[in-house]
């Protein structure tokens, strides 16, 4: 398949993930949608790596995967801490940083 297909697919997945971030209220699900967006980026990177014939894109995608893993660890730790503090698991209710 032409590389263009992979890139358009990556764009669609990214937009679906973005819509999910905007639409869902549970922080857990928002984190999951962020994973979607990251994976879309990964797909684009690997597609470009294939397009240029070098391995740089793949290394980049690997690093993104590692970063995603770290982010998940911290994010889920936050969610667990939130749950243990009896805070509401609703993003709209956590607006104490308003100006």
């Amino acid at each position: 398949m032409d590389i263009a297909w992979y890139l358009v697919l990556s764009a669609f997945i990214f937009c679906i993930g973005g819509a999910g971030v905007l639409t869902r209220r549970s922080p857990l699900v928002i984190l999951i949608c962020l994973e979607l967006m990251l994976n879309a980026g990964n797909l684009a990177l690997v597609a470009f790596a294939r397009m240029t014939g070098t391995g740089d894109g793949q290394v980049f995608a690997l690093v993104v995967m590692i970063v995603a893993a770290c982010e998940v660890v911290v994010g889920l730790g936050l969610i667990v801490a939130m749950y243990r503090s009896h805070l509401p698991m609703d993003v709209d209710d956590m607006s104490e940083l308003h100006g």
């Binding site: 398949m1 032409d2 590389i3 297909w5 992979y6 890139l7 358009v8 697919l9 764009a11 669609f12 997945i13 990214f14 937009c15 679906i16 993930g17 973005g18 819509a19 999910g20 905007l22 639409t23 209220r25 549970s26 857990l28 699900v29 999951i32 949608c33 979607l36 994976n39 990964n42 797909l43 690997v46 294939r50 397009m51 240029t52 014939g53 391995g55 740089d56 793949q58 290394v59 995608a61 690997l62 690093v63 995967m65 590692i66 995603a68 893993a69 770290c70 998940v72 660890v73 911290v74 936050l78 969610i79 667990v80 801490a81 749950y83 243990r84 503090s85 009896h86 698991m89 709209d92």
Partner: protein
């Protein structure tokens, strides 16, 4: 043959993504994400990125998703209501998502990037193999390699700190007998 695999994997990916976004139960969202990740692994294989595909399955779908499952089990699945209460977001979110999608597609297809129309140059057997990735990591991207390992350390420390019983909430871990929180 390749196109078939591509379209199957593509539809599975999009289906999984839509499942993540549209499912109300967070547990089902996590499972949809797993499906999506496996589809993506298939796409990686099609792009001759074997190591990345394997890492995706082992690390992402294996470790990270297991972590998600554990947390969902611990936290419990609170179902979101179907209708978005905020009127602005109800319209703006899908609108902007579609707009962005269209824009990106237009940008990609109309950008005139060389090589999009092709399948890429002919690559040898070693392309995408662990040997090549390892060589690149340890020569050209050595600094990235080291920094990323540091990042992992920081994440581990952060996780431990976050999971501690904090003095401010001494009753945080108590379970009220006879009821859920």
């Amino acid at each position: 043959m390749e196109s078939v695999v591509f379209f199957v994997a593509a539809f599975m990916a999009i289906g999984g993504a839509l499942g993540v976004v549209l499912q109300r139960n967070p547990f089902y969202s996590v499972l949809s994400l797993v499906v999506h990740l496996l589809a993506l692994a298939a796409l990686f294989l099609l792009l001759s990125a074997e190591f990345i595909a394997a890492a995706q399955v082992i690390v992402y779908a294996g470790a990270v998703m297991v972590l998600y499952v554990f947390v969902v089990a611990y936290v419990g699945g609170l179902e979101d209501p179907l209708m978005e209460p905020n009127p602005v977001l109800r319209i703006a979110a899908p609108l902007f998502a579609v707009a962005l999608g269209v824009e990106l597609s237009v940008a990609i297809l109309g950008s005139g990037l060389k090589g999009i129309d092709s399948r890429g140059p002919h690559v040898g057997a070693g392309f995408g193999s662990p040997a090549q990735i390892g060589q690149l990591f340890l020569t050209r991207f050595l600094i990235a390699f080291e920094v990323v390992s540091l990042l992992l350390l920081i994440a581990a420390v952060g996780a431990v700190v976050l999971a501690r019983k904090s003095a401010a909430h001494p009753q945080a871990d108590e379970r009220v007998p006879g009821g859920t929180v």
